[in-house]
């Protein structure tokens, strides 16, 4: 019998995900792992991990990882890449880590055109601490710290990360993808591959924002959570490529 599906080679054999059931993190990590295998990066990969739901990433991937304090993954990755320009360096962060506490580090890494890849999981909430309002929480969204729903007067607006990163001159690639359907998962993998390739080619900062479900904190079934991604998130955070210096015509 032919084996058609297996654990990627660069994933550990004895790990258990610490993600909640139905969470999209598992899919995102698997896509990263598949690409590390396919692009033959395991031996040269160094990941700067973040604080949040993906804090234990080093327990899942059999690659070199260094822990960065909350929000500092892009600074830490800058240090790693500047010290080891020939290695493949990436961050794997949540929206709170990348776009709230670490926004300065993230954006300045993009502005400097740091040649590493950054992945940001956007699930519109602080997942690990139990669903508080985050930088990407949608208007009207009820969280444990916006119990009556996010409104502009009181809480201000969510950040559109991929668009902001695309505005930075040092960015080589910036895209937003989702994981709610098989076609979207396939698109996500292509975007991640592109973000990895621009690093390999030394073109600049590669960035992918991944819209992800958080069934636990949204208090939804996995199916309902994916429906929310489609019906509520994508209209606010449109999918697409916001910058690709390798595309025909240059900066688009």
């Amino acid at each position: 019998m032919q084996q058609v599906f297996s654990i990627p080679k660069c994933m550990k054999k004895d790990f258990r995900y610490t993600f909640c059931p139905g969470c999209d993190h598992g899919v995102a990590v698997r896509l990263v792992a598949e690409l590390i295998d396919e692009m033959n990066l395991q031996e040269k990969a160094i990941c700067s991990t973040c604080v949040g739901c993906s804090v234990f990433l080093y327990n899942f991937l059999d690659i070199d990882c260094v822990e960065a304090p909350h929000g500092r993954a892009c600074a830490s990755a800058t240090g790693v890449k500047r010290a080891q320009p020939d290695k493949f360096v990436f961050t794997y962060q949540g929206d709170g880590d990348f776009a709230s506490i670490g926004l300065a580090e993230s954006m300045h890494a993009a502005l400097r055109g740091e040649k590493f890849s950054a992945i940001c999981i956007n699930n519109t909430t602080y997942g690990m601490t139990g669903g508080q309002m985050g930088p990407t929480s949608l208007m009207g969204q009820k969280t444990t710290t916006s119990p009556n729903g996010r409104n502009a007067d009181y809480y201000g607006y969510p950040i559109k990360i991929a668009e902001h990163i695309a505005q930075c001159d040092g960015t080589a690639y910036s895209a937003r993808v989702a994981l709610d359907t098989i076609p979207h998962i396939n698109q996500a993998k292509k975007a991640l591959q592109k973000a990895f390739e621009v690093q390999q080619q030394g073109l600049g900062f590669g960035f992918v924002e991944i819209l992800s479900s958080c069934p636990t904190n949204w208090k939804m079934s996995p199916e309902e959570a994916h429906q929310r991604v489609r019906e509520e998130m994508i209209p606010v955070f449109p999918l697409g490529v916001f910058k690709d210096v390798t595309a025909e015509g240059g900066n688009k």
């Binding site: 690659i63 990882c65 500092r72 600074a75 790693v80 010290a83 300065a104 300045h108």
Partner: protein
């Protein structure tokens, strides 16, 4: 720069060039007076050497860039001053927990808060006891001359990698801005083998993870015990100090960093006046030379601590002396360094108040 030649050089430039000599591969920094010359100097030198120089967006970013760089086994540092070093405390706690060989130079200015650019020694507590969370210890070296800025920079990089522990070189605005003749010599320390832990990609080995915490409580508890055991080894091997004429002394003037210069000069004046004064100066503020101070106290020697803060090292001297002899403080919070004249007259006043117990001819 010719290594054997004596050059007239500013403390800040001396630190920068010594770091280059010590094999600094990456510098990350953000400007702040009175240490900005270090970054300026390195911005000229590093690109020509094919080494990395990054103008970080903040001190917070700078120290975290150092964390990333040193995790791969290279030598990296950031330099800053007091209020901006305060911003780095979180990362220093991580660096201890992660056992990362971070080198941080703090050219102290006056605080609290923004304070001002006057020289001061108010970061003794911040350096020795730290402002980060959890139980951790940093190695702290305090130079007193431009020559020592060079020598201790070499030592800082060596100790950081040897023990996988952050090292702070604690200078001050006076030292950073003064020019003195100094010689770079050769970096006297051997290379440190980092191959057993450095992150260089999982080639022919399993992936490595550098992190400070895990959900395994027993492992976490053991980790902290291990860190403290390691620091005991550091204390045993690396505690260093200097003392002058303590043998027959009744009173020992004690200072750290550039105040050492003034207590040495004061000692000479006081000896001429017939007061038997010696000098003691910790080189490593952490690990602190408690044992030697305790020995001197056992011999009945009183201490006078002279420092440019409200008595931060004074507390450690008192702790080491354990009430066996008297410990006094001569201090000013910041600004103009306590002069030899001021120190001499303050010591004479203390001696007089003590009823001339140990004055032979006053």
């Amino acid at each position: 720069m010719n290594n054997k030649e004596k050059v007239l050089i500013k403390g800040n430039y001396a630190i920068a060039q010594a770091a280059v000599n010590a094999g600094l591969q990456c510098y990350f920094g953000y400007p702040i007076t009175p240490q900005t010359e270090i970054g300026e100097y390195l911005s000229g030198v590093m690109p020509d050497l094919g080494r990395a120089y990054v103008c970080a967006e903040s001190e917070l970013a700078a120290i975290n860039m150092v964390l990333g760089a040193v995790s791969t086994g290279v030598r990296a540092m950031t330099t800053s001053s007091s209020c901006a070093v305060a911003l780095m405390q979180e990362a220093l706690s991580y660096a201890c927990g992660d056992e990362l060989p971070v080198v941080l130079v703090n050219v102290m200015r006056a605080g609290p808060g923004l304070g001002y650019i006057y020289p001061a020694q108010g970061d003794y507590n911040q350096s020795v006891y730290g402002g980060g969370n959890g139980d951790y210890k940093i190695i702290v070296l305090a130079p007193s001359t431009v020559q020592e800025c060079i020598d201790y920079t070499y030592r800082a990089f060596y100790l950081a990698q040897k023990y996988r522990n952050p090292v702070i070189l604690l200078a001050d605005g006076l030292l950073g801005q003064m020019m003195e003749p100094a010689c770079f010599g050769e970096n006297p320390y051997p290379e440190v083998d980092v191959s057993s832990w450095a992150l260089t990609g999982a080639k022919n080995r399993d992936g490595r993870a550098i992190y400070s915490v895990g959900p395994d409580e027993k492992k976490q508890i053991q980790h902290i015990y291990n860190l403290f055991e390691k620091f005991e080894v550091i204390k045993k091997n690396e505690t260093s100090f200097e003392e002058f004429e303590t043998e027959d002394a009744d009173i020992i003037l004690t200072a750290f960093g550039s105040m050492t210069r003034n207590i040495k000069a004061s000692m000479k004046v006081l000896r001429k006046k017939g007061i038997k004064v010696g000098c003691f100066r910790p080189i490593t503020l952490s690990p602190f030379p408690h044992d030697r101070i305790s020995e001197l106290a056992n011999k009945g020697k009183d201490f006078i601590v002279v420092e440019m803060n409200m008595g931060q090292m004074y507390k450690d001297i008192k702790y080491a002396v354990e009430g066996k002899t008297k410990v006094d403080l001569i201090n000013r919070p910041c600004g103009e360094w306590l002069s030899v004249e001021e120190i001499v007259s303050s010591v004479e006043k203390i001696v007089t108040e003590r009823g001339l117990a140990y004055a032979t001819s006053v």
